[in-house]
Amino acid sequence: MKLKVLNQMVLRFPSLSENERFARLAVSGFISSLDPAVDELSEIKTAVSEAVTNCIVHAYRDTVGEIRMEVRLLEGCRLYISVKDKGCGIADVARAREPLFTTAPDEERAGLGFAIMESFSDKLRVTSRPEHGTTVTMLRTLRTRKPQNGSGS
């Protein structure tokens, strides 16, 4: 079953550290019309921040590349977020998703990025090809307080 897309946006921006803030504020603005609860909004912002930080710290480690973020609001208040890079890729995705696993301990990376994305979304998908890049997709149903067109069917 294909869900109807009610609203969507695509952003492309370089993997600069200051864009971590930009990315989560953009998502926050995009869903603001749904009037999300404080904790819900905070979790979504955190998950986006982790995904974008991974691109900056790992995918484009010694370089600057493009990050493509796509956000869709689907019927039933389902939020779809995908963050894509064309960076170094991940050889072993299962291992990278393990809590506390990090390839950058010297920079005080806690190794919790994927664990946080996982617990703050209903579904997390990570696809990656070494030397080609990584795509992280998160799905989350919002418990919105405002009725939406086309929801609930």
Binding site: S17, E18, E20, R21, R24, V38, D39, S42, E43, K45, T46, S49, E50, T53, I56, V57, E107, E108, R109, A110, L112, G113, A115, I116, S119
Partner: protein, 116 residues
């Protein structure tokens, strides 16, 4: 300033008030002032005050773990205080409560009033 650092000689406590968003970008600038004060004072405890922190991701957990290790090496302790509920939830997800206590205390009594 994203971080303001105080020292109380009577209790040998360094208090660091963090503010704004803690992410990979801002955490880099917070580590320096805190670590400089710790190395200068060699305190018995470090208090990280999260009251004015509006957002945090795993970089904040990295920041806490890093300061915990430093204080542990010096034989001191770390206390985190006053995080907002959603930030406390993230801290607990990262296992911060296993390294230090997370407590709520009024600002005025922060330095003298906290029992280790």
């Amino acid at each position: 300033m994203p971080v303001t650092v105080f020292y109380d000689a009577a209790t040998r406590t360094v208090l660091a008030e963090l503010s704004g968003d803690i992410d990979h970008c801002s955490a880099k600038g917070m580590r320096g002032p805190i670590d400089d004060e710790i190395m200068k004072r060699l305190p018995l405890r470090l208090i990280l005050d999260f009251e004015n922190v509006s957002f945090m991701d795993s970089s904040g957990i990295g920041l806490i773990i890093g300061r915990y290790k430093l204080m542990n090496d010096l034989g001191g302790t770390l206390i985190t205080v006053n995080p907002k509920p959603e930030i406390k939830k993230l801290m607990e997800l990262g296992g911060v409560q296993r390294l230090c206590s997370i407590i709520y205390q009024k600002r005025r009594s922060l330095i003298g009033g906290i029992k280790i």
